[in-house]
C-alpha cells in the first residue's frame, strides 16, 4: 500500500511541478503578484510529495518487499540494513528518484529564500526550476518507474551488485547529486535574469551561496568517488580519466570558474555576461554528468539499444535544456549591461585568466571524452583517448590555473601592482623553488613532472599563507593587534585562503605519486617483502564469514626498521548470491602515505600472489579536497552572503533610525 502511496505522491509532484513551471511565469508577464506567489508554495509542496515517494521506496527496500520489481532486482534479505537503504539509489530508477528529491529540496530552499528578491526574477526562476522538475519527474514516471509491482513476488531478491556493497555507496552518490543539482538553482536564476534582460550584483549575491553549496558537495563527491575507486579497484589508481569521472570533473571545473567570476560580479559588477554563461554551462555539464553517462551513450553508442525509450527521452531533455538555455543566452545576453572597468593586471584580470584556464580545461575534457564517439560515428575509426592525452592537455591547463591562483588572491581589485604582489609572495616563490630544486637534486635521474608539481604545491600553499600574514601582520605591531586584525577579516577571505591552501595540498598529494614504490611477489607465511621504506610480512591465511559473503583473508604486519608499524588484512571476498568475487585491499595509513596491498587467490602450494604499494603523501589528495570544501563552507558562512542579510540590516537600520554603513 505504501508503495502505491509513493507512486501517487510522485504523480502529484509532477502535477505541482507543471503548475510551478507555468503559473508564476504567466504571473510575471501579467504583473500579477498572486499568480507569481504560486511558485513558492508549489515548490515547497513538490518537495514534500517527492520526499513521500522517496520514503515509500526506502521503506520497500528496508522491509525487503520483493513484490516491487525494483527491490526484487536490486536487494536481498540478507543485506545489512545500511546497504538495503543505500541500495535505494544503487540502481537506475532509485538514483533518478534521489536526483529529483534533491532537485525539489533545492527548489524549496530557493522558494523559502526568494522573498528578498525582485518579484519577477524570483517567479521566473522558480518557473524554470519547476520545468526542470517536471521534465525529470515525467522521465521517472514514464520510463523508469521504481514503484512497478511484480506478481507473483519472488521469495528472494537478486541482490545488490557486490561492488556497490560498500560504505561509499551510502556517501558518494548523495554528495555528488547535491553538487550536480545545486547548480540547477544557479541555472534557473541565470535563465530568469536572461528573460528579464537585467542582471546585477544582487543577482550574484543571491546565486553565489547556492553555487558555493553545490561546489562544496561536488568537491567532496568527486574526492569521495576517487577514494572509493582507489580502495576498491585493487591497484591503487585514483583517477582514470574515464568518461564517467570526466563527467563529474567537468561541472566541477565550470562550477569553480563560476564561483570565482560571480565574486567579480558581486564586488565589481564586471564579467556579468560571462558569469551568466558559466551558470548555464555548469548545470549543463551536471545534466550531462548524470544522464548521458547513465544512459550509456558515452561508452558505447549501442548501449542505447537496450532501452531506446529512456535514451531518447534523456537526449530530448538534455537537448531542450542545454540548447534552449544557450539559445536564450545568445538572444538575450546582448541586453545585459556591462560594467566595472578594470586593468588587465588586477584581481579581476587574474580571475578572468583563471576562468579562461579552467573553462579551457573543461572544454578539453569534453572534447577528449566525446571525440572518440564522434570519430567512430563519422569515419568508423575507433580510437582511445586516455590518461596520457588528458594529462598533457587538461592537466597542464589546471597546473597553469594553480600557478595563477596565488597572484589572483594577492592582487588588488581594479588596478594591481604585479611587482608589489611578487614581493608579497616572495616567501612563497622562494619556497616553491627550494622544493623543486631539492627534490630534483635528491632524486637525481628520477621523475621531473612530480618535483614541478610539488614546487607548485608549495607555492600555492605558502602563497595563501603569505596573503594571510600580509593582511594580519604589520611590522612592529603586537601579537594581540595581529589577532584582532585576523578576527576582523571577513570569513569569505578565510574561505578563499583555505580553498587555495587545499588546492596546494591536493597537488602535493598528486606529486607524491612519483615517489612511490611497488613490489609484485608471491608471498609465503613468515616471509617479508620490502616495499618503499617498509617490510610487509605475511602472518596467516584464513577464512572468515560475513553477513552475506565469505572472505579469504591474508593477515599481514607492516614493519619499519624491524619495529611493528601496522597490521592489515587484504582479502578476496566471495559473494554467494551473485557468485562474484571482489578484492578487498589492505590499507594502512602511515603519516600521510599509505601501504596498499591487494592479493589474488592463493596458489596450490600455499603462496599468495600479492601486489604491494607504498604511496607517499597519497592521503593529501583527498584531505586537500576536504580543505577546499571547508574553504567553501567558510565563504558561505560570511555575513555578507547570508540569505536575507541586506534585508535584515535595512530592518535594523530602520529600527534604530541610523543609516547602515555600506560594507
Amino acid at each position: 500500500m505504501t508503495v502505491e502511496i509513493g507512486h501517487f505522491a510522485l504523480i502529484l509532484a509532477l502535477t505541482l511541478a507543471l503548475i510551478q513551471a507555468v503559473v508564476p511565469f504567466v504571473g510575471a508577464r501579467r504583473g500579477d503578484p498572486a499568480l507569481m506567489g504560486v511558485g513558492a508554495g508549489a515548490a515547497l509542496a513538490q518537495f514534500v510529495f517527492v520526499a513521500v515517494a522517496f520514503a515509500a521506496l526506502a521503506r520497500a527496500h528496508l522491509t525487503s518487499d520483493f513484490s516491487v520489481v525494483n527491490v526484487a532486482e536490486n536487494s536481498h534479505s540478507a543485506l545489512p540494513a545500511i546497504y538495503k537503504f543505500a541500495g535505494v539509489w544503487g540502481n537506475h530508477e532509485g538514483s533518478m528518484l534521489l536526483w529529483v528529491l534533491i532537485l525539489s529540496a533545492f527548489g524549496a530552499l530557493a522558494a523559502a529564500f526568494s522573498r528578498g528578491l525582485p518579484a519577477r526574477l524570483g517567479a521566473d526562476a522558480l518557473a524554470a526550476q519547476g520545468l526542470i522538475g517536471a521534465a525529470f519527474l515525467a522521465f521517472i514516471l514514464f520510463t523508469s518507474n521504481p514503484f512497478a509491482r511484480v506478481w507473483p513476488a519472488p521469495f528472494e531478491g537478486g541482490d545488490l551488485n557486490p561492488v556497490l556493497q560498500d560504505p561509499g555507496l551510502a556517501i558518494h552518490p548523495p554528495l555528488l547529486y547535491f553538487g550536480y543539482v545545486g547548480f540547477s538553482i544557479v541555472f534557473s536564476f541565470a535563465v530568469a535574469a536572461l528573460v528579464e534582460g537585467r542582471v546585477d550584483a544582487a543577482w550574484a549575491r543571491f546565486a553565489r551561496p547556492f553555487a558555493l553549496v553545490a561546489w562544496c558537495f561536488l568537491t567532496l563527491g568527486v574526492a569521495m568517488g576517487s577514494y572509493w575507486a582507489y580502495y576498491t579497484l585493487g591497484w591503487g589508481g585514483f583517477w582514470f580519466w574515464d568518461p564517467v569521472e570526466n563527467a563529474s570533473l567537468m561541472p566541477w571545473l565550470a562550477g569553480t570558474a563560476f564561483v570565482h567570476s560571480a565574486a567579480v560580479m558581486e564586488k565589481r559588477d564586471a564579467l556579468k555576461v560571462w558569469t551568466i554563461f558559466l551558470a548555464i554551462v555548469a548545470f549543463s555539464f551536471s545534466l550531462i554528468g548524470t544522464f548521458l553517462v547513465r544512459s550509456g551513450v558515452l561508452t558505447s553508442v549501442h548501449a542505447f539499444a537496450s532501452d531506446p525509450r529512456r535514451g531518447v527521452f534523456i537526449l530530448a531533455i538534455l537537448a531542450f535544456f542545454i540548447a534552449g538555455s544557450l539559445a536564450l543566452f545568445a538572444w538575450r545576453a546582448p541586453l545585459l549591461k556591462q560594467g566595472g572597468l578594470f586593468a588587465p593586471i588586477s584581481r579581476e584580470g587574474a580571475l578572468a585568466l583563471n576562468n579562461l584556464l579552467l573553462t579551457s580545461a573543461c572544454a578539453t575534457v569534453l572534447f577528449g571524452t566525446l571525440y572518440p564517439l564522434a570519430l567512430e560515428e563519422f569515419s568508423g575509426e575507433k580510437i582511445t583517448v586516455g590518461a596520457p592525452f588528458f594529462n598533457m592537455t587538461a592537466g597542464l591547463l589546471m597546473l597553469a590555473a594553480c600557478f595563477v591562483a596565488p597572484f589572483g588572491f594577492s592582487l588588488a581589485w581594479k588596478r594591481g601592482d604585479l611587482l608589489g604582489v611578487a614581493q608579497r609572495l616572495a616567501v612563497a616563490i622562494a619556497g616553491g623553488f627550494v622544493v623543486l630544486v631539492a627534490l630534483i637534486a635528491i632524486f637525481r635521474g628520477g621523475p621531473i613532472l612530480e618535483p614541478i608539481a610539488a614546487g607548485l604545491a608549495a607555492f600555492v600553499m605558502l602563497g595563501a599563507l603569505c596573503e594571510v600574514v600580509a593582511r594580519v601582520w604589520r611590522s612592529g605591531a603586537s601579537f594581540a593587534a595581529a589577532l584582532s586584525r585576523a578576527r576582523g577579516l571577513p570569513l569569505s577571505f578565510w574561505g578563499g585562503a583555505a580553498a587555495h591552501f587545499g588546492v596546494g595540498v591536493t597537488l602535493l598529494g598528486l606529486a607524491g605519486v612519483g615517489f612511490g614504490a611497488e613490489t609484485i611477489a608471491t608471498m609465503r607465511i613468515g616471509e617479508a617483502q620490502k616495499v618503499g621504506p617498509y617490510a610487509v610480512v605475511l602472518e596467516t591465511v584464513g577464512q572468515r564469514n560475513g553477513p552475506n559473503y565469505r572472505d579469504s583473508v591474508a593477515a599481514m604486519t607492516i614493519r619499519s626498521g624491524g619495529a611493528f608499524a601496522a597490521a592489515i588484512e587484504p582479502a578476496r571476498r566471495q559473494f554467494s548470491a551473485r557468485q562474484t568475487t571482489t578484492t578487498q585491499a589492505g590499507i594502512a595509513t602511515l603519516d600521510f602515505g599509505q601501504v596498499y596491498v591487494s592479493i589474488g587467490d592463493p596458489n596450490a602450494d600455499g603462496g599468495v600472489p600479492a601486489r604491494l604499494y607504498w604511496k607517499p603523501l597519497v592521503t593529501l589528495i583527498w584531505l586537500g579536497a576536504a580543505v577546499m570544501a571547508l574553504g567553501g563552507l567558510l565563504s558561505l558562512a560570511d555575513r555578507r552572503l547570508r540569505f536575507g542579510a541586506p534585508a535584515l540590516r535595512r530592518a535594523r537600520a530602520a529600527a534604530t533610525g541610523v543609516e547602515a554603513q555600506p560594507q
Binding site: N161, V163, H172, P173, L176, G225, W228, T232, L233, G234, W235, G237, F240, W241, D242, P243, V244, E245, A247, V273, V293, R294, T299, L341, L356, L357, S360, A361, A363, T364, G368, Y371, L375, E381, K382, I383, T384, V385, G386, A387, P388, F389, M392, T393, L396, L397, I520, A521, R572, Q579, T580, T581, T582, T583, S598, I599, G600, D601, P609, R611
Partner: protein, 150 residues
Amino acid sequence: MKTLRALLAAAFVLAAAAAGAVQPDEVMKDPALEARARALSAELRCMVCQNQSIDDSDAPLARDIRLLIRERIAEGETNDALRAFLVSRYGDFILLKPPFKAETLLLWLSAPLTLALGALALVLARRRAPTATPALSAEEEKRLAEIEGD
C-alpha cells in the same frame, strides 16, 4: 554516478577472472627489461575495460597482451616495433594516447584552440566595453550637489 560504471566494469572483469593485474609469474627476470615492459603496458589500453591500461587491468585479454609484450621484449624487439605490431593487429584503439594525424588534429588542437578563442573573446569584450567612466548626467549632477550640500 561517477565511479559506478568503472566499478561495474571492474565487477564484470573480476567475475570473469579471479586474477589480479600484473602477476608474480609474469615478471621478467631482468629489472631493466621489466621496467620497459611496464612502461609500455601503461600506454596500452585494455580493450575490454573502461579506459584502463593493460598494466592495471585484471582482464584475461590484458594478461595475454602483457605476456606477449614480455615475450617480444625478451626476444630483443624495440618498443616502436612492438607498438607498430600491436597497432597493426588491434588498430589505434589500443593506444591510450591517440596518434597525431589528420583524424585527431581537432582533438589535439582542442586545448590550444579553446585557449586562443577564449583569450580572443576576452580581448574583444574589453575593446567593446566603454573605455572611460561616462560623465554624470545633469540630473545626477544635481543629486550630487544636493548630497554634498547636506
